[in-house]
């Protein structure tokens, strides 16, 4: 097993290098430069000072040189300094935002798992019942839902008209004056909408997946055997079938990392949550190369580790896979 894990990690290293290469290429081959945003609109900027600015940022060197320099620095987790006026270190900027995004993604995953698994089981065991049909409709609507629209509607209803929930940020203005219990409650009230709305897409997909998994498992021979020997239906479903139907869950969770992180851009922008997505959107708008590169690489690295984690834990929970792979 250890060998399998090591092999997987080694195999993902070239992917990581490829990730840096592709993101570097994509951004630098696209027209438009960070300096043009600062200089084009200002007629007083001379050609000489433009060149000086380009030199300052290292943009006058050939692309391969820029890439190698950048790659070497980023291996030491140094993505340079932001082009933004504050000129802070990219790593610092990302580091203060990444926990928020990861925390939100984990909460979303938790919501998805807690709701989707029961839905999947119930609609599989009651196939073609009213409940099954209702969840099918829910799944299709959930898939088709433009989540930023749902976010707007919820903000309008719960935030503006009913006034139940705050519509932006992670904490209220008077956060510092609250008691500990009040702080937790305040945080929770801010998180409810982003997390629930953000989880919807995954929820739809996951409950569909759980349903078809369960349907497949309960048609297998060992389930028929369990029923034939007279076990109560509850035991058959929740002890015998569920275990096998749950196996691929870890894989799907690992694979849902990119969509959760990518979706963060929209939610964090709408709900004004200071996470990585919001930082990314801001940097994209101001062509802040180093920050864009840093986030693109870290986002891809997170995805890669999600895949890796899924792969390894699948081997851990399912002995059949482990044996097959070691052979």
């Amino acid at each position: 097993m250890l060998r399998h894990i090591l092999k997987r990690i080694l195999l993902s290293l070239p992917l990581l290098i490829g990730i840096t290469f592709v993101s570097f290429l994509v951004i630098h081959l696209a027209p438009g430069e960070p300096t043009s945003l600062q200089t084009d609109l200002n007629p007083r900027v001379s050609a000489a000072s433009k060149a000086q600015l380009r030199h300052l940022y290292g943009l006058d060197e050939p692309l391969p040189v820029q890439y190698v320099k950048w790659a070497w620095r980023s291996f030491r987790l140094d993505f340079g300094q932001s082009f933004a006026p504050d000129g802070r270190k990219v790593t610092e900027k990302i580091a203060e935002r990444i926990p928020i995004t990861i925390f939100l993604s984990l909460l979303e995953m938790l919501v998805i798992v807690l709701i989707a698994i029961p839905i999947g089981i119930l609609s599989a065991t009651r196939q073609y019942s009213l409940f099954d049909k209702a969840t099918t409709v829910f799944v299709f609507v959930g898939f088709a839902m433009p989540t930023f629209w749902l976010a707007l509607l919820c903000m309008n209803l719960f935030g503006v008209h009913l006034g139940w929930l705050p519509i932006s940020g992670l904490q209220s203005m008077n956060y510092a004056q609250l008691s500990i219990g009040g702080e937790i409650l305040d945080r929770a009230r801010h998180l409810i909408m982003p997390v629930l709305v953000g989880a919807l897409g995954g929820l739809a997909g996951f409950s569909r997946y759980m349903r078809s998994n369960m349907l497949e498992v309960i048609r297998q021979d060992y389930i028929r055997t369990a029923r034939a020997k007279g076990l109560p239906e509850r035991t058959v479903i929740y002890k015998h079938a569920l275990r096998n139907a749950l196996l691929p869950v870890v894989t799907i969770l690992g694979l849902s990392v990119p969509s959760l992180i990518g979706g963060g851009v929209i939610f964090e922008t709408i709900f004004a949550i200071p996470g990585m997505g919001q930082l990314f959107y801001g940097s994209v708008m101001s062509r802040d190369y180093p920050v864009i590169m840093g986030i693109l690489v870290i986002g891809a690295a997170l995805t890669l580790s999600g895949n890796l984690l899924a792969d390894i834990s699948y081997g851990l929970v399912d002995p059949r896979i482990r044996v097959a792979k070691e052979r």
């Binding site: 070239p14 992917l15 490829g18 990730i19 592709v22 993101s23 994509v26 951004i27 696209a30 027209p31 438009g32 299709f140 609507v141 898939f143 088709a144 839902m145 433009p146 930023f148 629209w149 749902l150 707007l152 509607l153 903000m155 309008n156 503006v160 990392v257 990119p258 969509s259 992180i261 990518g262 979706g263 851009v265 929209i266 922008t269 709408i270 990314f280 959107y281 994209v284 708008m285 062509r287 864009i292 986030i295 693109l296 986002g299 891809a300 995805t303 890669l304 895949n307």
Partner: protein, 292 residues
Amino acid sequence: MENTVKHGEITGRFRRSVFWRHFRKNKLGLVGAGIVLVLAGIALLAPLLSPYDPTELDAQRILSPPSRAHCFGTDRLGRDVLSRIIWGSRISLLVGFIAVGIATSIGVLVGSLAGYYGRWVDSLIMRFVDLMLCFPTFFLILAVIAFLEPSIWNIMVVIGATGWMGVARLVRAEFLSLKEREFVLSARALGASDLRIILRHILPNALAPVLVSATLGVAGAILTESALSFLGIGIQPPTPSWGNILTGGKDNLEIAWWLSFFPGLAILVTVLGYNLLGEGIRDALDPRLRQE
């Protein structure tokens, strides 16, 4: 030669009738097909259907709620929201179809090469596919779009260029199983060139799953376009797009619910239509699912 052509025609017609017989039974799929057709009609007939010019300003009626004259209300420049949504359908469908066209073409090309030639071609291509799949797609699209002029063509190209990996995997898998079949071996024994085998013999048999993924892809591309336009880096006003009408809705959230409600509903129904159609086609094509 004549015989084979005739034979092909018959099996083709037979397959179509079998497909139709199964598709007809799928109510959700039919609903999807209906939605898709109606939308195509709306987009085609936009000039006839829309009650106003979508870019016509009316200073007298700024942000007026739905009324008899403007049944979806007006936006902050007094433009009729219904007309903008009707014209916006053209943008959404255009982006959806062309982006998926690009993604499907790249995916089919790359997937066929990998599946047919195997060996190092396959490993090289598939490693690149793995690599591309590591990027959160929305990040990649956003990064590229922001550096280009936010024109409709750039959006189509970028959505297409970041969405081909799934198709490539599908086509490769089909090619892997088809290239060892007898009809391909016999074509090769008769001296057919690689190109002919790929285009005439394998590809037509590998297209069914591609059709399904393309239909679902249109839905995805429409969603992505509207999200980009919503964030202000997609279709630029005054050109109406469902996403950029929604931006106006966000800015006037407290006072003009109709600005965010109707365009979002249009997106939801459209995406739902294409998803249902895609699933319907999949069910009708897959004999294993029919038994259920």
